[in-house]
Subunit: 343 residues, 4 copies
């Protein structure tokens, strides 16, 4: 059985495992104040061309999201996002548990627009009862999105401009950022450092055992952020594990290289379905593909492969999701491609 | 330079690293619903002789504490603990951030008593304005404590009895539990499963890269606990990493065996100081020792060793802490013993 | 200038003011433990035919909502409601500030249905990632709604049945309940006590200076509720003020009588607009009316009257709101009616 | 039976009731945006000689405390106060429910000192693990204190200076401020506006039916404060009630005049006990007195009077509390004085 359900099915990339083994018996300071974390931070500052960025490492994505958002907003502020956003639907109310409303907007292919953001800001500001309404204080976007799609450079620039002009922070959830960087080189790390007040570089789904890097290019979020991490339970005692892993994965362009390979595998799967005449939910360019398949085809494939049921479409068809990742083995993809071709 | 500052200076025990490497390319379900976590749960249920216990794994100790406490208490309930308790002094207000007051009690050698607990309960209950006071809903004890000391079986039984008779939950923070189990076999896992509504088995400080097991022997905390873990950011995507590590460390009595070794190393260090006439803050039996040393001795030792400054004592003396752990190398201890003997 | 903007423009009903004056120099216990509150509780238990109901009094509606909801839900539970619900749009995120997600549903004329509630429950329960989603724990309905409409007895019975069968609590926000009781006698207090786990009887908008009664027919919410009130800041020191006012307003059917008068005034205003050919946003039966008026008519009326702008409709027209209340003077209504007739 | 248990036993001062009755049928805007609130704000700005102060009115003291504190602190900051502080012991964990730790300090006669504050700040700042500790972000003092005592001008100046030098806010809970102003004219409103970032002028215990004024002399707390009030449930719909009452009570020095009368009554009671040889818990100068009485004397007095049991002292004696207030009738005091003299 080969599995394509998600991008966190295997352990870590070989290089990451080697780095962990090689450093295992070293003695270092805890809580992220060690030379490995320092090295990983330096690499990220170089890659983002943002020498003043503050970089922290936490254990997981929900942890990163709730820590950044709770550390940023005043109590009566909320966070604008797509109604499909991870923070809105798949974090068990983690943001609300820190006291803040998630202000969900209708989306197209998982994305929201600068115009929607502006309209929300203006509507609240001009409401006669505006003090009775939650004030938008931040915009959250995922890149790639939960639907596998990508924001273009122009789209992100427009959202960022609206945020800046209206005093909102922009936070980009990069749980799958490596795949995005590999798929569209125009949206690169220096651009994100320019546009965002905070963004993450996901490790869990891109070759690490676990871990997300939180990048804070903006001075206004930097102060006392380690307090926030500790308070929310995201500060790892053996913090160097995150530094070791990120340094191994980020050095020398390795992350993007490995993500590009995964994207290519996913695109082969997508093409195989399209070649057989199956439509797509949306034409994704990174490591997730969403074919719409008849239920009998799904059942046939399920005998040898596992993948995610995404949503029923009526008429005996469903959207399913296939993911490739940094750690996906090519043998499985080859077998799948062959079986699709014989459908 | 050999370091004895804490018990999270190195990576993982050899056996744990091997298990991670051996399972690295496996594909499993995420979020703790994999065979490795199942196996680790089975081992823990066997060791605790509590077949109905529910077991979860989270990334760290603060994460475990805040998740258990927030999932247990009603909004107006607080948690009784020693004023030296980790949740009171070293978690950046993580418990309060979930809405609950930490009700700190004066302690002796890091421990509170059943009588103190009962007095607190009665005082609140009999206060004419009791509804204006936080209601004690849980007792938190650490074993070993933050001062390196151990609760006796009788002490824990007495606290548990008071809790049961008054409807409070008892939660034992076992961040260093392995060392406690090795130091006093009377306080074993079946006893804890009998006495506590929840307790943790610490992995981070006892041979794992990271991770704590939350054991819930009591049905009243079991329902929907995975929601709590996800909401607080403690649910690891590649959850099997925690199962793999705990299974490797717990199988065949390995954890206690390795912790016994660490305790023995720590006790050698303790004895070396005592033999030279230095007093102790308290006569600890597990892996932390707290000699009281003159400042010139401290400075001399600091040239070759690092260790924690615990508290100034006046008169040119300070309490310092030396820790040994599962991953401490014996060469460093041997060197230290020799240097102490020449002081 | 006569004002019809809202139902909290004046002070209290004459009878309420007299009761406050008559009891002003009495000495009583504080915090709601006085004979006046006891008397008001007795009246409410009689009116609801629910001798076991627990009744509390708090200062305002947002206070009541956040206290009831936070006292009821587990941390990972949310509250289902109409997207127009007061808790979703006009309480500055007060519910989220207690840690809970508001699960907003599309509405028709401010109302949600039993089917929508059931679908939401089933969708979450059957989601493969259900522990990653907020669990619906309560349904919130307003009666009358924020759009001035009323739930029918059948609608409420159906929602209550779905809640009971699925273990959710039903909470009815009765900020304007008096007007609802007067408009539809089928939805009476005994019915609400039967169907709801909690509901409020609004005082602020119905003749009191301030104050809401929280009625808890259901034993599961009753325990320790006074702790919740105190913790959230809703416990009035001179608590008897609320008992005095509610007793004065509720005794002898006075509340419904006065609300019926207000409804009648509002209905005269509605009829006057309809008679002139102006459409309504919805055909409300209680104390709020929502005519759709051309902007020039609005401007003309604004010279002598104030009223609320509700929403722009395009084509030079807007929805506006006129309210009548227990304390509305008939002279103002008479003048308005005359002026409408000359439009 | 005459009652001296507390200062919230009766309704409102005569002048306040008249003002409420006189304005009862007026129509005004809601939520504190009416001419009466504006007038009360103007009076307070004049009295504090602080034309830039922002003034808000909320319903009660716990409401005021939790709103000010939650609006001020970052998530990982806590509030330093006496361990007897109302927020620490008698608000059911209201501050923790907003996410913040109450950092309780030992007190003498209910008061803390500038030195204690400084030591706490320095200890946290210099802790090697300072990011694992709650950061002091605010100092809370009550004046008069919960023990009936008063801070001197010098004491408050010293605390304020430490706060300013270290970036903490100073918040003074003035639930009984009128009595304090009457007892020590050196600690006047302009001084408080100079020293504090926020303070309250209590209405509930000083002649109003209910209500506290929050005074924000400091610009850093002023922005968006109305959002905080609404979110926490403290914004009164018929907000003018608070303006009407405060204007009536504050105009022309009436509050201090009436509080001076109450202080004089309390001091007569104190003197009567002292003259009979009974000791005091502390020699309070305002409206609360704390004699230490033998239990048989307490029982004898309880036949005709009620008063608060404060704490048992051993040896068959207890501390009790007698309060006088703006609305205390002199006949009761006269009777009590006579009965004390015959003890």
């Amino acid at each position: 059985m080969y599995c394509f359900d998600s991008d966190y099915l295997e352990g870590a990339d070989e290089r990451v495992m080697q780095a962990l083994a090689a450093t295992n018996s070293e003695q270092t300071a805890g809580y992220g104040e060690d030379p490995h974390c320092e090295r990983a931070r330096r690499i990220i500052r170089d890659l983002t061309k943002c020498p003043d960025a503050v970089v922290h490492f936490v254990t997981g994505g929900t942890q990163a999201n709730l820590t950044v958002i709770a550390a940023t907003l005043r109590p009566w502020e909320g966070v604008l996002c797509a109604d499909t956003a991870h923070i809105n639907v798949h974090e068990t109310g983690a943001i609300e548990a820190t006291g803040h409303k998630v202000l969900a907007l209708p989306q197209v292919e998982g994305k929201i627009t600068a115009v929607q953001v502006l309209e929300s800001i203006v509507a609240q500001r001009e409401d006669r009862a505006h003090e009775h309404c939650v004030k938008p204080g931040m915009v959250y976007v995922s890149h790639p999105t939960e639907m596998g799609t990508l924001y273009s450079k122009d789209e992100l620039c427009a959202i960022s401009a609206v945020c800046r002009q209206n005093g909102l922070c922009l936070y980009l959830d990069g749980a799958r950022l490596g795949y995005g960087l590999a798929a569209d080189p125009l949206v690169d790390l220096p651009l994100l450092a320019d546009l965002c007040d905070a963004f993450t570089i996901g490790g869990t789904k891109a070759g690490l055992l676990f871990g997300e890097a939180i990048v804070l290019p903006s001075q206004k979020l930097q102060a006392e952020f380690r307090y926030a991490i500790k308070q929310r339970g995201g500060m790892l005692a053996k913090g160097r594990l995150l530094g070791v892993q990120f340094a191994a994965m980020l050095a020398g362009g390795y992350l993007v290289e490995r993500c590009a390979r995964a994207n290519a595998l996913a695109q082969q799967i997508k093409k195989a379905f399209v070649d057989k005449g199956f439509p797509l939910l949306s034409d994704t360019a990174a490591n997730q593909v969403f074919p719409i398949l008849p239920d009998d085809v799904i059942q046939k494939l399920q005998r040898k492969y596992s993948f995610s049921h995404w949503q029923a479409m009526g008429g005996g068809r469903s959207v399913v999701r296939f993911c490739a990742s940094v750690t996906t083995e090519e043998a499985g993809v080859a077998a799948l491609l062959r079986d699709i071709s014989f459908l």
